[in-house]
C-alpha cells in the first residue's frame, strides 16, 4: 500500500485542530452531509427512486448542541447511510 502526503492537506488539518470541538463537529458533519448529497445526486441521475438510508440518530441530531455520544452515534449512522448510497451507485456501475 502506498501512502502519500500532501502539504496543503496537512496544513488544513493542522488548522482544523485549532478549532473548537463544536466547530470540528459541525465541519465533520457538514462534510459527511456533502458526501451523502453527492452520492444521492449521482444515484438520482440513474434512478428516480433513489433514496438515503435514514435513522433517528441522524434525524434528531443537532451538531450545535450535542454530546460526545450523540456525535459518535450520528457519525456511525451517517457512515452506514453513505455505505448504502455508495452501494446503490456501485450497483448501477456494476450492472452497466
Amino acid at each position: 500500500m502506498k501512502f502519500v502526503e500532501d502539504n496543503d492537506f496537512n496544513e488544513m488539518i493542522e488548522n482544523f485542530k485549532k478549532l473548537s470541538v463544536v466547530e470540528k463537529k459541525q465541519l465533520t458533519i457538514k462534510e459527511i452531509k456533502n458526501l451523502l448529497a453527492v452520492l444521492y445526486a449521482l444515484n438520482s441521475q440513474n434512478d428516480s427512486d433513489s433514496k438515503i438510508l435514514f435513522n433517528r440518530e441522524i434525524f434528531s441530531f443537532n451538531e450545535e448542541d450535542c454530546s460526545e455520544e450523540d456525535f459518535v452515534e450520528a457519525t456511525y449512522a451517517y457512515i452506514y447511510s453513505i455505505k448504502e448510497s455508495l452501494a446503490d451507485l456501485l450497483t448501477t456501475f456494476v450492472d452497466s
Partner: protein, 1391 residues
C-alpha cells in the same frame, strides 16, 4: 498510628471537647457574667471558687471516661502520641475538630486523665524520650525572650504542665534540679504547678546563689523574692528565713522592701497583729502594712476595731481603708462595723471626699449610708457636689428623688440640670417654679436671701417669668415638659409669649438659644480675639458649650465668634423635621433675631472686620449698625435668610460662594451679582480645566448648594435612591438623582452644556426639597411594613394564648419594624403597666427609639430581654436615622447622635445590606401626626407585640401582659418554621439553578440564592447553631463550583472566549457585591457556620482559566491602568494622559530594582501611585514651576528606594541611596548638586512627625545645605510628597485623617486616590478582559486560517474536482434532456 488507636484518640478528644463545650455553654459563661456583676459591686471570691470547682469536676469526669474506655497499654500508647504532639498533628486535629478550636488546655485535660493511669516510671521515660528530648534539642536558652527575660516558648510551658503531672517527687526534683535550677531558670516559674513548697524554697535559694555567682544586678533576685513572698502557700516562718537575702541584695532600702514584702505576704490576722506589735512599726509603716496586707475583710475590721491599732494611727490616716479592695471597703463603710463612731464618721468624710463613681453608686443604693449623708449638712454638700461631677451612666435614684433629698443644698447650676426638659415630673417642677424659695435658685436669678450669688441681670421681673411658666403649664403639659428654664431671660421676654411657647416645643432650639446667650456674654467678657489654635482647652470648652457634634470637633478649625450661625442652623435642623411649610417664615424670623441681637451689641465688630468674615457677618457689621430693622422689606429678609442659611462658619472647606453686602440696596442686587460672579468663576474653571471647581459653581448657581454638602447628601440619601418609587416626594427623589448625575460628570463639555440649559431652583422649592430627604425613606418604610391585612388571625388556643388578646401569625413574607424595650437600658415599669411605662417613664425624655428592621429572610435584632414591640404605621418624618448596621446612636435627650455614618436605603435593601447582627432605624419617639397629637397621643404607640416561638415562658408572659395593657394584638413568629421555610425556598432555587442550562440565567439565579443565603445567615448570627446550620454555605459553594465548571466546559468546547469572559464578569460582580457589603456594614466576614465563600479564590480560578499567568506577572501596572482611564477632564485623567507614563515606569523600575525583589509588586504599585498623586499635587501647588515638579517626581520615585526591611522608617536610607542612584545623572549634568540635595531633603522630610519649624527640620535643612532662601521651595516639594503619601494610606484604611494634609488640593484628591487604588485593585480584571479579547481574536484568526487552507486544499482535492466534473455533466445532461423526446429521456436516465 494504627486505626484502632486513631479511633480511640478521636473518641477521647471528641468527648473532651463536647464536655468542655457543654461546661462552658451551660455553666461557665453564666458564671462568668455573674462574676463580672459581682466584681462591679466590689465583691469577689466565691464564684471564682465555684468556677474552679466546676473545672475540677470536669477533669475528674474526663479522667474517669479515659480509664473506663482504655486498657493500660492503650493509655500508654496514646500518651506517647500526645507527647509527640507537634504542629503537624495539631493542624490535622484542628482541621478535624474545627468547630471546637483545639486549645492547649484541652490537651492538658486529656493528658492529665491519661497520666493518672500510668506508672511514673513509664511517664518520665516516655516524656524524656519524646518530649523533653525535643525541648533539649531546641535548647532552653533559645526559648527565653531576650527582651523580657521570660520564657516565650509554648513548648516550655507544655513541659511544665507535663512535669506537674509527674507523681514521683524524686524524679520530678531530679529533672527540675538538672534542667531548671542548675541553669538558673527559676524566677519565672516559682508559681508554676511544678514546684511544691519545699522545691520552691530550695529553687529560690539556688537561684539566689546563682545570682550572686553571676553578679546579677539584683533584678533576678528581686523577682525571685517577690514571687516567693507573694506565694500564699508558703508559710510566714519560711519566708522569714529569706531576710538575709534582703539585707544582702537591698542594703540601702532594706527596711522598705522588707516591710513591703512582708505586708504583701501577710494573709491572716495573727501574722498581721504579730508584725504590727512585735516590730513596733511607726505610723507610716503601719499604714503601709494595713494597706498592703491581704487578709480577709473581717480580719481587717477586727484590726480596725482593736484599740492597740487605732491608738497607733492618726484618725485621718484611716482613709487607707479606701485603698483596700471593694468588698472590704463596702463592708466597713456601710455595715457600721466599726465600734468607734468618731473613726466611722471620719472614714465616711474621707470616703465622700475621695469617692469614685462606684462608691457614690453604693452610697445612693444603701439606705444606711444615704441617711448618714443626709444627717450631716457638710456631708450633704460635699456628696451632692461629687454626685453631679460623677459620670455614672445609670444612677440608682431618679432626679425627682435627688431633688426631694437634696433640694435645700443644691446650687443653681445643679438645680437647673435637674430641671432640664423631661428630667422631672412636670407637676413637681411647676410646684417649685411657683415657690419663691426655690424659683430664684432654679432660674439662677439674684435674690438677697434665696440666691445671693445669682445673676443680677438675668430677669428683672421674676413674677413675669412665673406667670409665663404657669401659662405654659396650663396651655399644654407637653410643651411644659420640654420647656428649658434657661430661656427665661429678659432678652427673650422682649419677644411675646407666642415665641416662648413656640421654642418650648423644641429642646434643641432652646438649648441653642441659651448657649448663644452664654457665648454673647462670654465673648463680651473675654473681649479679645481668642487664639483657638494655641489655646485648645478654651477651644474645647466653647465647642462643648455649643453642643457641637464630633465631626466638627474632629475636623474643623473654628473662626472665633462665628458661633451664631451654627447655633441657629442647629435650631433649624430641629424645626425642619416638623413642618417645612411653616418653617420658611420662621427662618426669616431667625435671621431677623440674629440681626437684632448683633446690632444691639457691638462686640462682633472687631472680629468681623478681620479676615474671613462671611457675607452675612459683613452685612451685620457694615449695614446693620444703628439701622432700624423695621425698614428691611420682606423680600430683603428673604434674601438675607437665604444667605444666612449658608453661613456655616465652622468649615474651612466652605465651597459656598456668595457676594458681599455693603448696603440695604446691595440686598436687592444680591442674586444678580452672585449670578454674575458664578458665571465668571465658571468660565475661569473651564479655562483652567478644573472640573470639580466647575461642578461646585454649577451646584451653587442652580441648586444653591456647594459640592461638599452635595457629596454628603448623596452619601446619606443617594446610595439606594434608584430603588425608591414614591410619587409623594418625587421632586426630592429627582433632585437627589440629578445631584448624583452632576457629581459624576467628568467632562467639562458635558457640564458646559448642562450649565447653559439648566434652570435655577427657587429658594423655597430648594428648601422644601432638601428637607424632605429623610421623609422619602420614612414614607417608603411606612408603606412597606407588613400590615395586619397581610397577616392571618389565628385561634388563640393554637399557640396557647389567653383569649384576652388577638393573635396573628406572621405570613411567609414579612417586614417588621421592631424595638426591643430592654436591649440598651431597662424600661422602668410604672405601676406594672406597660402602656403607662411606655408613655410616662423617664425614657420618654429621649427622642430616639432604636428599632431594627427584620424580615422573613433576616431575623437579626438586638437581644430580647423584655418585650418586643412592632410598629406598622409611622409618620413620614418619624424615621430620623437609618443604616443597614448598628449606628451606635446615643440619646442625649436633646438630640440623637449617631456614632457611624447614616445611610438611608429602601426597606428591602436595608435587609439585603445588613451584614451585622442587626440594622438600626432610629424612630422619633414623639408622635408627629397632628391628628393623633390632637387626640392627646404624645408618643408613638406600638402596633403589636411580637412573640417568638422559642421565647422563654417569662418573656412570653410579659408579652401577653404588654399586649393586654396596650390593647394591641400579638404577632406570633414561629422561628423554626420561618427558618425551615426559607431553607426550603433556597433549596428549591438551588434545584432550579442546577436544572437550568443557560449560564446567564444560572448566574442570575445564583445571585438571588447567594443574597438570600447571606441574609438568612447574618440574621441568625446570634441564634442557636441548629438554626444556623439550615443555611450551610457548602451548598452555595457546590453550586458556585458547578456553575464555574459548566462555564469552563462550555468555553473549552466552543472556544467562545467572549461569552466566557462576559459570564465571568457577571459572576464576579455578584461575588464582589456580596463581599463589599461586609465593608459597607463595618463587619467582619467571619461566621461560625462552615466556611465562607472567599470571592478572591473563585475569581482567581476563573481568571486563570483564560491565562494562568495573570496573577504571576511582575510588571508595572501603571501603563495598563492608564489605558483604562477614559480621556476626560478629571484630575486623574488629565495627569495620566499628559504625563510621560512610560518614562515614569522606566525610572521607577530602574530606581527600585531591589525593592521589587524583596517586597513584591505591591511595593512598586505604591510608588507608582504616589508618583501619580504627587504629580497632580505638584501641578496644582507649583503650577508654573516645571523644574520643581520634576524634582517632586524624582523624590516620589526614589522615596522607598532605601527600604530594606519592614521597619516603618527608612527615609534617611532612601535619601542616602538616592545619591548613588542619581550619581550618573549628576555626572552628566542632568541634575545639579542642589537639586539632588532638595530631592534628598524631600525624601528624608517624610519621617518628620511635625510640620513645624523645629530643631529636626532645621537640622535637616542644614544636613543638605539648603539655605534660608530655599527653605520654602524645598519644603513645598517635600510637603507635596508627604500629602501624596498620606493619600496613599487609603490602601490600608477606609478613611483618612484630613487634618494631616498640608496642601489644599489634597482634600479634593481623596476620590482621585480612591479611584486610582480601585483601578490597581482591578488590575487582574483588566488583564483578564484583555486576555479574553486576545483569545477571541486568536480564535477568529484560527477560523480564518482554516477557511483559507480548506479552500486551498479543496481546489486540488480529487474528490472536489470529481464532484465539480459530475456537476457539469449533470447540468449538461439536464439541458440535453430538455431538448429530447420523452422516450430519449428514459434512455439517458438508464445510461
Amino acid at each position: 498510628m494504627d486505626s484502632e488507636l486513631t479511633l480511640l484518640m478521636d473518641d477521647i478528644l471528641q468527648h473532651t471537647f463536647e464536655e468542655l463545650k457543654k461546661l462552658r455553654d451551660d455553666k461557665v459563661d453564666k458564671l462568668n457574667s455573674s462574676i463580672r456583676e459581682e466584681q462591679e459591686l466590689g465583691k469577689k471570691g466565691l464564684l471564682q471558687e465555684e468556677k474552679k470547682q466546676l473545672f475540677n469536676n470536669f477533669l475528674q469526669q474526663v479522667t474517669d471516661y479515659i480509664k473506663n474506655k482504655l486498657t493500660e497499654q492503650q493509655m500508654k500508647d496514646i500518651f506517647t502520641v500526645f507527647l509527640a504532639w507537634n504542629d503537624e498533628l495539631e493542624n490535622l486535629y484542628s482541621a478535624k475538630y474545627r468547630s471546637y478550636s483545639i486549645e492547649h488546655d484541652t490537651l492538658y485535660y486529656v493528658l492529665q486523665g491519661l497520666s493518672s493511669a500510668i506508672e511514673d516510671k513509664d511517664f518520665l521515660s516516655a516524656a524524656s524520650e519524646n518530649y523533653f528530648k525535643r525541648i533539649d534539642d531546641v535548647g532552653l536558652d533559645e526559648m527565653v525572650d531576650v527582651e523580657t527575660g521570660y520564657f516565650s516558648s509554648m513548648n516550655f510551658y507544655k513541659s511544665l504542665l507535663l512535669l506537674s503531672l509527674c507523681k514521683d517527687t524524686n524524679l520530678k526534683n531530679d529533672y527540675i534540679e538538672k534542667r531548671l535550677i542548675s541553669k538558673g531558670f527559676v524566677p519565672q516559674f516559682v508559681n508554676s504547678p511544678v514546684f511544691n513548697d519545699t522545691i520552691l524554697l530550695e529553687a529560690v535559694k539556688k537561684g539566689l546563689a546563682s545570682c550572686k555567682e553571676k553578679k546579677d544586678n539584683g533584678n533576678t533576685a528581686f523577682l525571685l523574692l517577690k514571687e516567693l513572698l507573694e506565694n500564699k502557700n508558703i508559710p510566714f516562718h519560711s519566708k522569714e528565713t529569706f531576710m538575709d537575702f534582703f539585707a544582702e541584695y537591698f542594703p540601702e532600702n532594706y527596711d522598705f522592701w522588707k516591710l513591703d514584702f512582708f505586708s504583701a505576704s501577710i494573709n491572716d490576722y495573727d501574722s498581721a497583729m504579730k508584725l504590727i506589735l512585735e516590730k513596733n512599726l511607726d505610723k507610716k509603716s503601719l499604714e503601709s502594712v494595713l494597706c498592703r496586707c491581704k487578709i480577709k475583710a473581717e480580719d481587717l475590721i477586727k484590726l480596725y476595731n482593736d484599740e492597740r491599732i487605732i491608738s497607733r494611727l492618726p484618725q485621718n490616716s484611716l482613709s487607707v481603708i479606701l485603698n483596700t479592695d471593694g468588698e472590704t471597703k463596702y463592708q466597713i463603710l456601710f455595715h457600721s462595723l466599726l465600734t468607734n463612731h468618731a473613726i466611722e464618721k471620719n472614714l465616711m468624710h474621707e470616703a465622700i471626699r475621695e469617692a469614685d463613681d462606684d462608691l457614690i453608686y453604693s452610697m445612693l443604693s444603701h439606705a444606711d449610708s444615704l441617711n448618714y449623708i443626709l444627717q450631716d449638712q457638710v456631708f450633704r454638700n460635699e456628696f451632692i457636689e461629687k454626685y453631679f461631677n460623677s459620670s455614672m451612666n445609670h444612677k440608682p435614684l431618679t432626679n425627682a428623688k435627688i431633688w426631694e433629698l437634696f433640694k435645700d443644698v443644691l446650687t443653681p447650676r445643679q438645680m437647673s440640670s435637674l430641671f432640664l426638659p423631661g428630667q422631672m415630673p412636670y407637676d413637681v417642677q411647676l410646684q417649685y417654679y411657683l415657690d419663691e424659695k426655690y424659683c430664684y435658685r432654679i432660674l439662677d436669678v439674684y435674690h438677697p436671701e434665696y440666691n445671693p450669688s445669682g445673676d443680677q441681670n438675668k430677669i428683672s421681673d421674676i413674677k413675669k417669668a412665673q406667670s409665663l411658666i404657669y401659662r405654659l403649664y396650663n396651655d399644654n403639659h407637653f410643651l411644659f415638659k420640654s420647656f428649658n428654664p434657661g430661656i427665661m431671660t429678659d432678652e427673650l421676654f422682649q419677644f411675646d409669649y407666642k415665641f416662648i411657647a413656640l421654642i418650648s416645643k423644641y429642646p434643641e432650639v432652646q438649648q441653642s438659644i441659651i448657649e448663644k446667650l452664654k457665648i454673647d456674654k462670654y465673648i463680651s467678657q473675654v473681649g479679645v480675639r481668642m487664639d483657638w489654635e494655641n489655646d485648645p482647652v478654651e477651644y474645647q470648652k466653647v465647642l462643648r458649650m455649643f453642643n457641637l457634634d464630633e465631626d466638627h470637633v474632629a475636623t474643623c478649625k473654628p473662626i472665633d465668634g462665628r458661633i451664631c450661625g451654627k447655633v441657629l442652623m442647629n435650631m433649624l435642623k430641629v424645626i425642619d423635621g416638623i413642618d417645612p411649610e411653616c418653617v420658611i417664615p420662621y427662618v426669616s424670623d431667625l435671621a431677623k433675631i440674629t440681626v437684632m441681637e448683633h446690632t444691639s451689641n457691638n462686640i462682633f465688630n472687631d472680629i468681623f472686620l478681620k479676615d474671613g468674615a462671611t457675607s452675612f457677618e459683613k452685612f451685620v457689621v457694615n449695614v446693620c449698625q444703628g439701622l432700624d430693622v423695621s425698614t428691611i422689606t420682606p423680600n430683603q429678609w428673604r434674601t438675607l435668610t437665604k444667605i444666612f442659611l449658608h453661613d456655616i462658619p465652622f468649615s474651612d472647606k466652605n465651597y459656598y460662594i456668595s457676594v458681599d453686602i455693603h448696603s440695604l440696596q446691595d440686598i436687592d442686587t444680591y442674586d444678580e451679582r452672585r449670578r454674575q460672579k458664578l458665571d465668571d468663576l465658571f468660565n475661569q474653571a473651564l479655562h483652567n480645566r478644573e472640573v470639580n471647581q466647575a461642578i461646585n459653581i454649577f451646584l451653587n448657581k442652580y441648586y444653591d448648594i456647594d459640592i461638599d454638602t452635595a457629596r454628603k447628601m448623596i452619601e446619606t440619601y443617594g446610595m439606594d435612591i434608584d430603588s425608591i418609587k414614591e410619587d409623594k416626594y418625587q421632586k426630592s427623589i429627582d433632585f437627589i438623582k440629578q445631584l448624583k448625575r452632576v457629581l459624576s460628570i467628568k467632562s467639562l463639555q458635558e457640564l458646559q452644556q448642562l450649565y447653559q440649559s439648566e434652570t435655577e431652583l427657587s429658594f423655597e422649592d430648594g428648601f422644601l426639597i432638601k428637607n424632605a430627604f429623610p421623609k422619602i425613606f420614612g414614607h417608603t418604610l411606612s408603606n412597606q411594613l407588613t400590615s395586619f391585612s397581610a397577616m392571618k388571625p389565628v385561634d388563640n388556643g393554637q399557640f396557647n394564648f389567653p383569649s384576652s388578646v388577638k393573635v396573628y401569625e406572621a405570613p411567609d413574607d414579612f417586614i417588621f419594624l421592631v424595638h426591643s424595650t430592654d436591649a440598651y437600658g431597662k424600661l422602668e415599669i410604672i405601676d406594672g403597666d406597660y402602656k403607662k411605662s411606655w408613655n410616662e417613664s423617664d425614657r420618654t425624655n429621649n427622642h430616639g427609639i432604636c428599632c431594627s428592621l427584620i424580615a422573613n429572610d433576616y431575623l437579626g435584632m438586638a437581644e430580647i430581654k423584655d418585650v418586643l414591640l412592632g410598629f406598622n404605621d409611622i409618620s413620614d418624618s418619624s424615621l430620623v436615622m437609618s443604616a443597614p448596621y448598628d449606628l451606635y446612636t446615643q440619646n442625649n435627650q436633646i438630640n440623637i447622635q449617631a456614632g457611624r455614618k447614616v445611610k438611608f436605603f429602601s426597606p428591602r435593601n436595608i435587609i439585603n445590606y445588613t451584614r451585622y447582627a442587626h440594622n438600626e432605624q432610629s424612630i422619633e419617639r414623639r408622635e408627629l401626626r397632628n391628628e393623633l397629637v390632637d387626640k392627646g397621643i404624645v408618643n408613638l404607640q406600638p402596633s403589636y407585640v411580637i412573640v417568638f416561638s422559642d421565647m422563654s415562658a417569662s418573656l412570653r408572659q410579659k408579652a401577653i401582659k404588654c399586649a393586654e395593657d396596650f390593647g394591641i394584638p400579638i404577632v406570633y413568629i414561629d422561628r423554626q418554621k420561618v427558618v425551615q421555610n426559607e431553607a426550603n425556598r433556597i433549596d428549591a432555587m438551588i434545584r432550579e439553578c442546577y436544572a437550568t442550562a443557560d449560564i446567564s440565567r444560572k448566574i442570575e439565579l445564583f445571585s438571588d440564592i447567594y443574597l438570600k443565603h447571606e441574609n438568612n445567615r447574618c440574621g441568625l448570627l446570634n441564634s442557636d447553631e441548629s438554626l444556623q446550620s439550615a443555611f450551610n454555605t457548602s451548598k452555595i459553594e457546590n453550586l458556585l463550583n458547578d456553575i464555574i465548571n459548566q462555564m469552563v466546559a462550555e468555553k473549552n468546547k466552543t472556544h467562545d472566549y467572549q461569552r466566557y469572559g462576559d459570564s465571568v464578569l457577571k459572576l464576579v460582580e455578584v461575588l464582589q457585591r456580596e463581599e463589599s457589603k461586609f465593608i459597607t456594614s463595618y463587619e467582619t466576614k467571619k461566621r461560625t457556620v462552615e466556611n465562607d465563600i472567599t470571592a478572591s479564590t473563585y475569581i482567581r480560578k476563573m481568571y486563570e482559566e483564560i491565562d494562568e499567568q495573570i496573577y504571576r506577572e511582575n510588571r508595572s501596572k501603571l501603563a495598563t491602568v492608564t489605558a483604562t482611564v477614559p480621556l476626560d477632564d478629571s484630575l486623574l485623567s488629565q495627569e495620566l494622559h499628559t504625563a510621560n507614563i512610560s518614562a515614569i515606569v522606566s525610572e521607577i523600575h530602574k530606581f527600585n530594582s531591589q525593592l521589587t525583589f524583596s517586597f513584591g509588586s505591591e511595593a512598586l504599585d505604591h510608588i507608582e501611585r504616589t508618583t501619580v498623586l504627587a504629580g497632580i499635587i505638584g501641578k496644582k501647588e507649583m503650577p508654573n514651576d516645571a523644574h520643581a515638579q520634576c524634582l517632586l517626581r524624582l523624590s516620589a520615585e526614589l522615596r522607598d528606594c532605601g527600604k530594606k526591611s519592614n521597619l516603618p522608617r527608612y527615609a534617611s536610607e532612601s535619601a542616602s541611596d538616592a545619591e548613588q542612584i542619581l550619581g550618573d545623572e549628576l555626572k552628566v549634568g542632568n541634575i545639579s548638586q542642589d537639586d539632588l540635595h532638595i530631592i534628598q531633603f524631600a525624601i528624608e522630610y517624610q519621617d518628620l512627625d511635625s510640620y513645624r519649624f523645629d530643631d529636626r527640620l532645621q537640622a535637616l535643612f542644614q544636613k543638605y545645605g539648603i539655605d534660608a532662601d530655599h527653605f520654602k521651595y524645598a519644603e513645598k516639594i517635600a510637603q507635596c510628597l508627604k500629602d501624596a503619601n498620606e493619600l496613599e494610606c487609603l490602601r490600608m484604611t477606609q478613611s483618612l485623617n484630613e487634618q494631616r494634609f498640608v496642601t489644599e488640593v489634597s482634600h479634593e484628591l481623596i476620590p482621585v486616590a480612591r479611584e486610582l487604588l480601585e483601578r490597581y485593585k482591578s488590575y487582574a480584571q483588566i488583564r483578564f478582559i484583555d486576555r479574553v479579547k486576545e483569545r477571541s481574536r486568536e480564535q477568529a484568526e484560527h477560523r480564518e486560517l482554516f477557511r483559507q487552507s480548506e479552500l486551498k486544499y479543496k481546489m486540488k482535492s480529487g474528490f472536489e474536482r470529481m464532484v465539480a466534473r459530475l456537476k457539469d455533466i449533470v447540468v449538461h445532461r439536464t439541458a440535453e434532456s430538455k431538448n429530447v423526446p420523452e422516450g430519449d429521456n428514459n434512455e439517458i436516465r438508464r445510461r
